[in-house]
Point group: C2
Chain length 297, copies 2
DNA sequence: ACAAAAGTGTTTCGACTACACCCATGG
DNA sequence: CCATGGGTGTAGTCGAAACACTTTTGT
């Protein structure tokens, strides 16, 4: 009656260090922290995940949300594997590294997602030609590629990280496809991860890019106090775009998202900067407080 | 090593008829279509859900997205029950009813969510007094209640359907809590459903209310052509608020979301209205096309 | 005629953008 | 001094909100 299902939990743990978004992996692997959900010692799935990460990586997670449940993998004789993926955000200052945890640069996984120094070359040099071949004269494929990669006059939508990964997967441009199907295609892009872990990271990046503009999640990645410059750099790292400094300052200050502490940070490389902190009251004042990226509408 | 997990899929199937949002249930019950995921005959979980709904309710779903995976229920000796909930939207015109499927008014489940005729009386008459008692002098509870229910000057955020249900659950104001814990509290609100199905519907309503303003999902609930009045009524039904007619028209037309067909609908009760259709090209033009509700930022 | 619903014009308001510019510190 | 980053002013643009109003049908 009830079949055996292999149930796993996976953790996409993100932080930003040195202006790079990065995801936690198990040292020496390209695998996310993950484990079987074998018993019922935890009251909730989220608590099970927290325990799992504590045991595997020695870190107590703060912000955690459920990401997505993946169940489409190749089947095993004992039944389908179901993976419940969670997204966690940690302050780079508190994030461990070394024997227990390693960190992988997200833009090594998705080089086409970092537009901070302009349009990534890989798009026009490698992705577009391959995508064009795949499109052929299919109008459906044409529309999908245009929307997903912002071609033919469509705008680039930073939050479509997952759509882009999935399209590249279908086209055969990412290594996992070759691994899965046994065949290898020339010109694969980005660093691969085991199983469908890169898809999970793409899901996480999509989620947080979308959420930046309507929830103050960004402060989960920063210490208690920070300069506006640091805040801006972290937002830029995640969003993958450069922002206009004077306007960014006003948006977060006038938006009531932060408040000055009166204390100044000295080691800025220039004039000392005031330290700010997240202004919690904003949650009571505005329905959807976030940092507001260009074309968030 | 691997434990037995009871894995189920649940379907929150929404449509709007007679200006009321409603959710599909199995006839004679207050249960969502659901079933065990027992074998691997389906390539993906979503396909398994589609088959399940076809078999149980005799309907082929169109728009489907994964909602959330619930796993916190009371445990059984054979292991935890994991429920993967999906959200589906169907055009009221195509939706069946009768022996195979019944429909339950969403605002019977959540009477406090329908603000189309002003603030629902149940809020001030029943919810607020009970919530105030629960708050006591806890600042944490105070903040949570204020944000969730828009008290003490905080704005009402339509998309927080789930937050509100979960808070009422914790406070003991919804019947499921009594069912689960064996105790009953006086003054429970809204129609209950079996197990955690009402929570799933709340999750679905939250999701779609949030999505209305940045994805053109509303058209999944309408037939091929419609008057702007019909469109507005469906949006209002889901969002639970009245909208300003002239501005609504312009928002969807100038926003490129719809285009006129030149054909007129006669039976409007007044002047004939032009029939419109969804303008698919908007997907190529704008990053996040939606209907734009008041205070969507 | 009048009710009911469709549909248009115009003004105001506020949010975000872009551009130009000044300030304070370290080397 | 000048490089680096901190920080401010202001004008323009665009979309949304509010209000007043006209048009076309059925009864």
């Amino acid at each position: 009656m009830t079949a055996l299902h292999h149930l796993r939990a996976n953790a996409v743990i993100l932080s930003v260090a040195d202006e790079q978004p990065r995801v936690m992996t198990l040292p020496g692997t390209s695998a996310l922290p993950a484990g079987d959900l074998v018993d019922d010692q935890d009251a909730t799935l989220e608590l099970a995940l927290r325990r799992l990460v504590r045991e595997q990586a020695g870190i107590d997670l703060g912000y955690v949300e459920q990401l997505y449940t993946f169940g489409d993998q190749a089947r095993s004789p004992t039944g389908r594997t179901i993976s419940i993926a969670y997204l966690a955000l940690v302050d780079a200052g508190l994030a461990p590294a070394g024997r227990e945890a390693a960190w992988l640069d997200c833009y090594q996984l998705f080089p086409w997602e970092d537009w901070r120094s302009g349009k990534p070359e890989i798009i026009d040099q490698e992705l577009v030609p391959a995508l064009e071949r795949w499109v052929g004269d299919s109008a459906l494929r044409r529309e999908r590629v245009d929307i997903t990669f912002g071609l033919s006059g469509s705008p680039w939508d930073g939050a479509r990280v997952l759509d882009r990964y999935e399209l590249l997967y279908e086209v055969g441009l990412v290594a996992e496809k070759g691994v899965d199907s046994g065949e290898t295609v020339a010109g694969q892009v980005g660093v691969a991860m085991v199983s469908d872990h890169r898809r999970m990271v793409a899901t996480g990046l999509s989620r947080i890019r979308g959420k930046l503009s309507y929830r103050p999640v960004i402060f989960e990645l920063l210490s208690e106090t920070f300069t506006l410059h640091q805040l801006q750099r972290v937002v830029e790292a995640l969003a993958g775009v450069r922002l206009h400094k004077p306007n960014f300052r006003r948006l977060v200050e006038r938006g009531g998202l932060v408040e000055g502490t009166g204390v100044a940070e000295q080691k800025t490389g220039g004039r000392p900067a005031e330290l700010f902190r997240f202004r919690r009251e904003v949650l009571r004042e505005r329905p959807a407080p976030g940092v507001g990226l260009p074309s968030a509408r």
